[in-house]
Subunit: 203 residues, 2 copies
Amino acid sequence: MKPISPRQQDILNFIRQFIEQEEFPPTIAEITRALGLKSPHGVREQLQALARKGAIELIPSASRGIRLLQKAAEQDGLPLIGKVAAGRPLMTEANVEQYCKLGPELFQNKADYLLRVQGSSMRDAGILDGDLLVVQQAAEARSGQIVVARLHDEVTVKTLRLAGEMAYLEPANPEFPVLAVDLSKQELSIEGVVVGVIRNRID
Amino acid sequence: MKPISPRQQDILNFIRQFIEQEEFPPTIAEITRALGLKSPHGVREQLQALARKGAIELIPSASRGIRLLQKAAEQDGLPLIGKVAAGRPLMTEANVEQYCKLGPELFQNKADYLLRVQGSSMRDAGILDGDLLVVQQAAEARSGQIVVARLHDEVTVKTLRLAGEMAYLEPANPEFPVLAVDLSKQELSIEGVVVGVIRNRID
DNA sequence: CGGTAGACTGTCCATAAGAACAGTGTTCTT
DNA sequence: AAGAACACTGTTCTTATGGACAGTCTACCG
């Protein structure tokens, strides 16, 4: 999108705030008054510029015919990442299955995305195949936390255990092995910390 | 709130749908056209009636000055029921801890409320102490479903197993007993069906 | 049987609000 | 130095819109 001038940003902010408060968009005259201007025409031109830049949509001849466009991102909620394509960063368009609205009041830590669990290696921690993990993006984690980690281009969910130069990725299922990583020799990148679990299928 | 007539409900539905689609409320004339009426005055009176009944708010002299009021209930999200007071219906004000916003796209079945789990009797089904169950209100359930049931004034979460006149409430933890209920002698009331699980604390 | 509420038509008015035209001055970039 | 984008004032025009008045018809409620 093209750059938005400071004044246009002012107008955009006012519209956003107005909608927040009144539940409908302002008229051009209301914007004019709010900015302390004397003629509505200046505002009108700015609105048309904003429309050209793709920030808003103007509905011709309709009073209060202003629609904010990139509000969409907020409304979509958290991205749900299904299958992770090898060698790709997690939060890639291609990985996102859908967007889920989740109120922030549910999780004490900020949630960044949802990740669908594959396999039952964390079964005894109450994380089952097909569950959605609520993940907070983080590059580091404390020992004992359940993390989303990337090892040799593969993404895995395990409990992280740190002991000096060694990191252990512990499953919560005796049928799976503990992965030991020598941090001085291999690279282990933390993608995020699990802050919640959601199960939407009960069999 | 006072009762809303069928016609007024029509108008309310149209306004709701219009806002959903256009992001701003309709004008009186637009409502008139949508309902196939010839004069805007009839609609105007209905709007004033709706305002008297507390369903909407009319902002005088403002174009599209219609605000939906009980939209608040939706916005509040699902009620989260913490501890259940004995002998009281579940969805009582006193039982509600808070309201949580949850997008409906997450659960294929409609969710009615959240219930905090106490105890670990469903541990092996991946339902742990402190988890939030996503519950759909229902008076009946199929055999094999995980249900919220009330037995002797106590609310419990178990897998329901039906066999003729007998109902079994099976825990998912060998440390807990199966509860057998003879439906011809005792009363077992189903409060709802579990359609999802949310864990917001990871220890 | 009168009163009230619901559900309209039809007309009219004042103004709120979008649209357009004619300008002015500034700050950039090319 | 010219052109484009920004950031306005000021005026005029038309239509969209809310608001008001005068009625009609029906269904209920007590």
